[in-house]
Amino acid sequence: MESHAVFTPEMKKTHTILIPSMLPWHFNLLKAALVSCGYKAELLDNRDRSVVETGLKYVNNDICYPALLVIGQFINALESGKYDVNHVALIMTQTGGGCRASNYIHLLRKGLEQAGFGHIPVISLNLAGMEEQPGFDLSLKMIKRMLAAVVYGDVLMYLSNKIRPYEVVAGGADALAGRWLTKLEDMFRAGKGQTLSSIYQFGREITKDFAKLPIVAKDKIKVGVVGEIYIKYSDLGNNCLENFLQKQNCEYMLPGVMNFVMYGADTYLIDYKLYGGSMMKYGTAKIAMWYLQRLEKAMRKALDYSPFKAPASYEETKAMVKGVIGYGNNMGEGWLLTAEMLELAKNGYNNIICAQPFGCLPNHIAGRGMINKIKELVEDANILPIDYDASASKVNQENRIKLMLATAR
């Protein structure tokens, strides 16, 4: 690799780390987790069309849409003049694995170089030890705090999605989630609320608060949203899909981020069984999995409070695809995508939107490729794959969703 800008230990004090936007609650808490570990951080909020235009300019247009958006958002922010470009660094997740997404960070560097920001250091957030930066120490403490952020994010997302369609006071669920977000951010910055027991404790308090919100029974179409991780979660990526569904009289459900994290750790265990490999990695993954399961348990216990029900666990979800698709299929969302569709279909969200970037390689297999099979297993599954892209038209996408809703059962 050619040398690139380094994030030095001194920069921890002088540089602000910019975080791309994806999920409002999760990412604000991740920011707070970073701050609690002594970094300066800021979440990007530029989300208009110019982000796409910037992306088109600096990224090969055939690359998948999430890369184009994330890179576009970074460069657009840097060009906006809002940030002191000599005192910022960028952070990006790098999943590793055989999906081309592992290459985003390199594409970002290329784009930065072209845009004249080659001096800005890029931090790769990954657990595989790729692209280490001397000034960024992914300590056990930080990992734990980030995982807590994911769990709280999932809790807030799950509860507000459950309540929002039925709330009596419009905007009540989001306002409550917002209040809790502020509270959690404060706690995070003080390094609190991140142990297993406090996750259960505060998780339960949040659940109780949501349970108190007045609701009214309404006839809603239940829609599940799955797909490529960025596109399904990010309103920038999916043309504000959630907003649209809300207006179309739907209750929608998105599987949590924890599933994806656990799937990531599990990949090491599965690959070891299939192909052999390093005992060390296997052991580390085993421990990680053990911790993640405890976290998940705490979260599910907290959510198991009437009128709510704990969502399906990772293991339950995983068991659903046994014999449907191999667990060795683990590039991108891999088998988890198929599993989430089955889980949703079997649990009442039988209208499913599978959102992916145009030409997404893993989704040819685990998304589109498995639809016929899922329909064999769950007869009333009503699945609609949608491709998102810099110039795919919103009219077409929405018209197809309307078709799915018109034929919803």
């Binding site: 690799m1 050619e2 069309r49 088109l56 090969n60 247009n61 055939d62 690359i63 055989g98 999906c99 081309r100 592992s102 290459n103 960070i105 390199h106 594409l107 290329k110 072209q114 690959d271 299939l274 192909y275 052999g276 490999g277 449907v324 698709i325 191999g326 060795g328 299929n329 683990n330 590039m331 991108g332 145009f358 030409g359 390689l361 893993p362 040819h364 297999i365 685990a366 589109r368 490729g369 498995m370 639809i371 016929n372 099979k373 007869e379 491709d387 892209d389 810099a390 110039s391 795919a392 038209s393 009219v395 077409n396 018209n399 197809r400 309307k402 078709l403 809703l405 018109a406 034929t407």
Partner: protein, 974 residues
């Protein structure tokens, strides 16, 4: 009374039912995006018919109806749902409905297992596509049907997307294929696309209903569907109005009809759309701009006084251009006209007139360029042929000697040339999938009811040019649709399209790192730049002033004439161009035949001229012309194929039965491994044949994802073939990891290669009848592999012992190494033979499965017939030290096949006599990364990077231009 309004992308339909559901009034008309006005017209007509009508239940449907419904607070009914309601009411017992609309194709399965599908956004084989093709054939859409009825031959036309089909049809036209045949071929392509794109594995049978405009008006199209589906479908009465009637049936709310026109007016006024800044701030700016470009003129002289001249012909995709140039380079006469689908007639008429009008002016040499080059050269005895890119370069250089960048946007192509030290330094051409070019503007102008010139004028002073993005034509159609919905005026659409063409060229084709990288002295040309909107958009986007010659559309012909002059001055000879007497005897006949000399079965178009000798086109090799088998001695692709074919001669006892292996994707490399493994276990290995046309069609209806790469799609056919042979065991494992070659940081497969067996298992139902072994294995750890294989095989063959498996594996690893060693050895042999013979060496870099002639469309043969030796990427990739490569790469290098590409690019960069051509499958997401990196590695060493995108598109036209340009630019083409 119940009223349904169906507002589609191009038409608007109204259906009025009485309360019993009887149709009282129906009307169908094109709306030219004046939706509010047209609705009002329809309402007026309705009021005239029913003067007492005040209120009625009314609902709106259709893709352009969403906006109207939202704006006026009307009920919206999704069109497919409306269709379902109407069909269930009028045609109970229907099993399947097929509807083709303007830009949508829909398929409904009715009954218990209801399912509805609409075409993906990347599939334009629909009504608008037929319109587009009709205008390409220069016939009225209405005539297509009667033409198709007279067809005698069907050509294969890529049906996946409108742009692809277009690039198949255009060259056929230029080669002289009969239009009747083409009309029928277009219908066939549309039907094929609709069926494969929408059925996605679900069988279509029972009572089939055809709806929508194209299927109503074109009986031949219905016949095509009948034939493909093997059913006899019916087109019911009022088949145009099913959506409108269904919408009427669904209408629940009473609407005040008399107040509706005002509401429509009001909402039309307040809609918004994303827009860009205007092209010109004011008229003065335009005048100034105009004055500047008016000075960029080529010297002219009076032909009446000329005694000698050179002739240049540019037989382009949609137009024919001719330039007559004096020995001093002055333009004496020019000619520019649509070729109306037959360039031969246009050239003949020009020459006839020329000989009559200017008998004193002798044409001393002539040259032809463009799509129709071969045909025209052959028919008229033109002295020289020249590739377009070079012609354009010569013309631009004569006008602007310091030119360092040329951008030419023609009817079908975008060509960019970078000039360094007076030589072509780099060439960019548009992909078949991004041809947002001139003919695209013209087609849009026509759809909206304008001529191209009017359309351009209207756009000049648009106040809010629509932001349409920069993608392929099919996407653009929907973007325009959206803009129309949002109330964009024609002016703003025109300006928006111009801007998007420019962005397309800049960001899809050229992809400059920065504006400075493009150059300082830019010449833009091609007919499209005669549109001032496009020119202005380019200057604005670049922030630069560029030169547009007044003969922008004629530059190819002008350059060809200059080329003729150059060649003639170098080595004078008597011109072979047909003279007046010969022209009087001129005859031209076209015949199409199928070549039977090999399994390719190319459709040949044979043009016979008065001179007698036939001119054959459409061939993929020289065989029908020379009647000799092609020479493969310097072609590693063919030699690899022979090596793989040789495996099947291996003897095996077959005591354990047969084992089928589908010949595609990674099997092109791992076949030696698995073949040896199973032969040793006592299986008779049955390998599906290297893909031919039949195989590619066989599995088509089981492909779940339309946008997956073509090599993956072929796997469905291979599996079907194996099943048809009655094979009871099929082996095709999932493999996350590829062979570790130490070249990268990991050895992944791409997700499609890794997991495609899962797709086959989930979508090819017949696989349940046999043992399909597709578990996950890796070749990296032979102990784990042995265990996995034992577990997998023992399910069906419990008697296979671990010892046998280990033994067979040992043999398999040896066989693989032998194969790889042989490939490298043959590669070395070809390279040294080429060096002895002084031939250039092309590294045709791709992935192992790109050697499949059905995948690469015999581009390898094209290269060898052009006089180069050809090796594959894996023949040279091992010559590069991994550490050295790692130090230079700027990407994550973790896929085995990609690592080879990078290493091959590096090796080519180090070798003077080598050039790299990269084959990229359309839809291969990984190659967005590899292409940029290979390009960088090559360009940093001053080499030209050439990429050829391949799909099921059968035509080699663009590939030829690329290769010839490469050969010419590196000084290899005479």
């Amino acid at each position: 009374m119940q009223i349904g309004l169906d507002i589609g992308s191009t038409t608007i339909k109204i259906a009025v039912l009485d309360d019993a559901g009887k149709l009282l009034f129906a009307k169908y008309q094109r709306h030219y995006s004046q939706i509010a006005e047209k609705i009002q017209e329809l309402l007026q007509e309705l009021f005239a018919k029913f003067p007492l009508l005040k209120t009625a239940h009314l609902a709106v449907s259709g893709s352009a109806g969403i906006g109207v419904a939202e704006g006026c607070g009307l009920q919206f009914v999704q069109e497919v749902f409306a269709e379902k309601v109407c069909t269930e009411r009028l045609n109970p017992g229907t099993d399947v409905v097929i509807e083709l609309g303007g830009e949508d194709a829909k398929l409904l399965f009715l009954g218990k297992h209801f399912d509805a599908r609409m075409n993906d956004s990347c599939a334009g084989g629909t009504g608008a596509f037929i319109d587009q093709m009709a205008s390409l054939l220069n016939v009225a859409t209405e005539d297509m049907n009667s033409m198709a009825q007279k067809a005698q031959n069907i050509y294969t036309i890529a049906s996946r997307c409108g742009v692809f089909a277009k690039s198949d049809i255009q060259p056929l036209l230029n080669q002289g294929a009969p239009k009747n045949d083409l009309a029928a071929s277009i219908f066939q392509a549309v039907a094929q696309q609709a069926v494969t794109g929408l059925a996605k594995g679900r069988p279509i049978n029972g009572k089939v209903l055809y709806l929508g405009g194209p299927l109503t008006f074109m009986s031949c199209l219905r016949d095509c569907f009948d034939k493909i589906l093997n059913v006899k479908g019916t087109c019911p009465e009022n088949s145009l109005y099913y959506v409108a009637m269904g919408t009427a049936l669904c209408a629940e709310h009473s609407v005040d009809l008399r107040a509706l026109p005002n509401k429509l007016q009001a909402t039309a006024a307040c809609r918004t759309f994303e827009h860009l800044s205007p092209l010109f701030a004011n008229e003065e700016e335009y005048l100034f701009f105009n004055a500047r470009h008016n000075t960029e003129r080529v010297a002219t002289a009076d032909i009446a006084t000329a005694s000698e001249a050179y002739l240049g012909i540019d037989s382009g995709s949609t137009t024919i251009k001719i330039a007559v140039v004096s020995p001093k380079g002055e333009l004496l006469k020019s000619f520019y006209q649509s070729n109306k689908g037959n360039p031969v007639i246009a050239v003949k008429e020009f020459l006839q007139n020329f000989y009559v009008e200017y008998p004193q002016c002798k044409l001393i040499a002539s040259a032809v360029t463009g799509y129709g080059e071969d045909l025209i050269r052959h028919g008229f005895g033109v002295d020289y042929g020249i590739v377009e890119t070079i012609a354009h370069f010569l013309a631009a250089k004569s006008l602007q000697p310091s030119v360092d960048f040329i951008l030419d946007i023609g009817g079908q192509d975008i060509k960019c040339l970078k000039i360094h030290n007076g030589c072509i330094d780099n060439i960019f051409l548009n992909e078949a999938c991004s041809s947002g070019c001139g003919s695209f503007l013209q087609t849009f102008a026509e759809i909206l009811g304008y001529s191209a010139e009017e359309f351009a004028k209207i756009g000049l002073f648009a106040d809010k040019p629509v932001d349409l993005g920069s993608r392929c034509t099919v996407f653009m159609n929907s973007s325009v649709k959206q803009a129309q919905k949002d109330g964009a005026s024609v002016a703003n659409i025109s300006a928006g399209l111009s801007l998007s063409i420019v962005k397309n060229a800049l960001y899809k084709v050229i992809r400059p790192g920065s504006k400075e990288a493009i150059g300082k002295h830019i010449v833009v040309q091609g007919g499209t730049f005669l549109n001032d909107c496009v020119l202005r958009a380019f200057e604005k986007e670049m922030g630069l002033e560029v030169v547009r010659p007044n003969i922008a559309g004629l530059m190819g012909a002008y350059g060809a004439a200059l080329y003729a002059r150059g060649r003639h001055e170098q080595a004078p000879k008597t011109s072979t161009l047909l003279d007046a007497a010969a022209l009087a005897q001129f005859k031209h006949q076209v015949k199409s035949v199928t070549c039977g000399l090999c399994s390719n079965h190319c459709h040949l178009t044979v043009n016979t001229f008065a001179s007698g000798k036939p001119f054959i086109s459409g061939n993929r090799c020289e065989r029908p012309v020379t009647h000799c088998a092609p020479d493969n001695s310097l072609n590693l692709y063919r030699q690899k194929l022979d090596l793989l074919a040789g495996l099947n001669e291996r003897e095996s006892s077959g005591v354990r039965g047969t084992m089928g292996i589908p010949m595609g994707l990674n099997m092109y490399e791992l076949l030696p491994f698995w073949h040896a493994f199973f032969s040793n276990l006592g299986f008779k290995v049955v390998v599906s044949p290297i893909a031919d046309k039949k195989i590619s069609k066989m599995g088509q209806n089981t492909i779940p994802s339309d946008t997956v790469c073509y090599p993956a799609k072929l796997m469905h056919g291979h599996i079907k073939w194996l099943l048809e042979q009655g094979v009871t065991n099929i082996f095709y494992p999932c493999m996350t990891y590829n062979v570790e070659e130490g070249n990268g940081e990991n050895c992944y497969n791409c997700p499609v290669v890794a997991y495609y067996p899962e797709v086959l298992h989930a979508n090819v139902q017949e696989l349940e009848q046999c043992n399909f072994f597709f578990d996950y294995v890796g070749l990296g750890n032979n102990k784990v592999l042995a265990k996995k294989l034992a577990a997998m095989l023992n399910k069906a063959f419990p008697d296979i012992t671990m010892k046998e498996i280990k033994n067979a594996l040992l043999q398999a690893y040896i066989a693989y190494d032998l194969f790889e060693g042989e490939v490298r050895r043959q590669g070395r042999r070809i390279i040294s033979a080429a060096r002895e013979q002084g031939k250039p060496i092309i590294v045709l870099a791709g992935r192992p499965y790109h050697i499949d002639p059905k995948v690469n469309h015999s581009i390898d043969r094209l290269i060898t017939t052009m006089g180069a030796a050809l090796v594959s990427e894996d023949a040279v990739s091992s010559h590069i030290e991994p550490k050295q490569l790692a130090a230079e790469l700027q990407v994550l290098n973790q896929w085995t096949y990609h690592s080879r590409l990078y290493a091959a690019a590096k090796y080519v960069a180090n070798n003077e006599d080598m050039h790299m051509v990269q084959l990229v499958s359309f839809g291969c997401g990984c190659d967005a990364i590899t292409a940029d990196e290979c390009r960088r590695l090559l360009e940093e060493s001053g080499k030209i990077y050439t990429q050829i995108k391949i799909d099921d598109i059968d035509n080699l036209g663009t590939a030829k231009i690329r290769l010839r340009s490469l050969f010419a630019a590196v000084g290899l083409e005479s």
